[in-house]
Symmetry: C2
């Protein structure tokens, strides 16, 4: 059995990409979208991100058997309360948030008794808003489904098939473990990137124009992820605080160790750490999660 009618709540990069991917891969599925921002709804209509754009969340969710919340993790509860009264008791409520434990708690409180099966497609770009989505965003990317204990197995499989049809490789994971894994692979890298971009833009000795000009030496790779949506990322850090702080403290300890090695001109310690990077990089390329071409095929100009 597959879903008949899908409601997408929030039509930014992720919601828009789901809409376009559904139309490309599941043309028979009824697709209705909603966004709290009227300007986004207007743009979503123009781009055809869903078959229909509703004027209220309740209007979108009425009759849907799959509801996907594509809003920042801090806005899940508010968004869910808007359609709680019309939600079909058989519907699956899912999301695309980057942290899972607080989302489960928030949705359970807002939608008592609903079948909440969160998901996290590990895919994105630094662009956001209704113009950012594209149909192939999920191709060959992972989608992690984190069913709370006691979830209906048939519904988990239904959601699994849905994401697989959009091109993702699906993995099922415990929500708590998800939050730890993503703290390392996504949240800490974003925090570090945002911070170094902030540090670099406030220097006295080095001008901001110089930082931008000579960014090809490494800095520009950090600016890409530091250009990601600020609201979404604020909410991630507020909602995955414990795992982020734990990983951040491990990183800070390691960085203090490297600082001491530089201070003491300890070349051996530096060399040993610098050698580790290559093996991990090779693994990522072998797993098809990155591109080995120099500069990922960036243009020459």
């Amino acid at each position: 059995m597959s879903f008949q009618r899908v409601a997408i709540i929030g039509l930014g990069l992720l919601g828009g990409s789901i809409g376009l991917a559904v139309q490309a891969n599941l043309p028979e599925l009824q697709l209705i979208g909603y966004d709290a921002d009227p300007a986004v709804r207007k743009r979503a209509k123009e781009r055809g991100l869903a078959h229909e754009i509703a004027e209220t969340a309740a209007g979108a969710v009425q009759g849907a058997d799959l509801v996907i919340l594509c809003v920042p993790v801090g806005a899940m509860a508010t968004a869910a309360r808007e359609f709680a009264d019309v939600l079909s008791p058989d519907a699956v409520v899912s999301d695309v948030g980057s942290s899972k434990q607080t989302v489960i708690a928030d949705l359970r409180a807002a939608l008592p008794g609903a079948a909440i099966i969160p998901a996290h497609p590990v895919a994105g770009t630094e662009h956001s808003g209704p113009d950012a989505g594209f149909a192939t965003l999920f191709q060959h990317r992972w989608c992690i489904i984190t069913p709370p204990e006691g979830s209906d197995q048939a519904k988990v499989e239904q959601l699994d098939r849905f994401w697989a049809t959009l091109g993702a490789t699906v993995e099922v994971m415990d929500p708590q473990h998800h939050d730890q894994v993503l703290a390392v692979t996504s949240h800490i890298p974003h925090l570090i990137a945002y911070t170094i971009v902030g540090t670099a833009s406030d220097l006295e000795e080095v001008k901001r124009s110089e930082v931008m000009k000579y960014s090809a030496g490494g800095f520009r790779d950090f600016t890409r992820i530091a250009a990601s949506d600020p609201t979404m990322w604020r909410d991630v850090f507020l909602n995955n605080r414990e795992a982020v702080l734990e990983m951040l403290d491990l990183f800070l300890t390691d960085l203090a160790h490297m600082r001491e090695a530089i201070r003491a001109s300890d070349g051996e310690t530096l060399f040993d750490l610098f050698t580790k990077g290559r093996a991990i990089r090779r693994g990522i390329i072998e797993m098809g999660q990155d591109d080995a071409r120099p500069d990922f095929g960036r243009k020459d100009h």
Copy 2:
């Protein structure tokens, strides 16, 4: 007046790319290469990285009016001593190192009286060795020339034209300022990337395979620069210690501030910082130093 005979000492990513770029853009120039590693010399011959590969550094430098040292910054002095006796008194001695103050001091000590005019092409990839170079590496990238005080202006201009012919945009900068600018735009980003990759590969709760699998959430961008040549980077940190430590301490202060904001659930501070990234990113793209396409045009698989 332009150079007649160029010697490249060190035939890795940078030396090999200069060799290929010279052949593409300055076909009349005599080009001789040398590398201390016999296996690299053999491979350089096969790839045709220079017109001729010498068996000794002195053999390569004999008769050259431009010598470019393309070895790790910690190996400059040793490499220079090998050809000190045969260096023509009129020759320009340059390099491609990522830090400049210690290189100037080392080359002055090894080559008393020589015309030392260091340069730093701000271009590279995470690959190294004689197979890594390509002729277009310097196209639309900056090359910073850092002449020590009292340099012969005609020779500085000669070197400037050489790099411009290879496709680079040349800037002249004070060596000390260069080292500060690059500490921010290149050295600290590399140190952070190396460190987080190390932290992530030693975790107890999260497996290394999970880190690689879910790396598309941000982590993979760090692994690219953390796959850079370990010897080269060890030497950079040992040779630009002061500027690196100064910038690192500014970053650590800012990161402690962010840590505290997360701990205290201070969303406003997080949001304010996260908003800064977009302006810098826009500037970098406008300056042609990066590619705005989602994922820089990475392949879909």
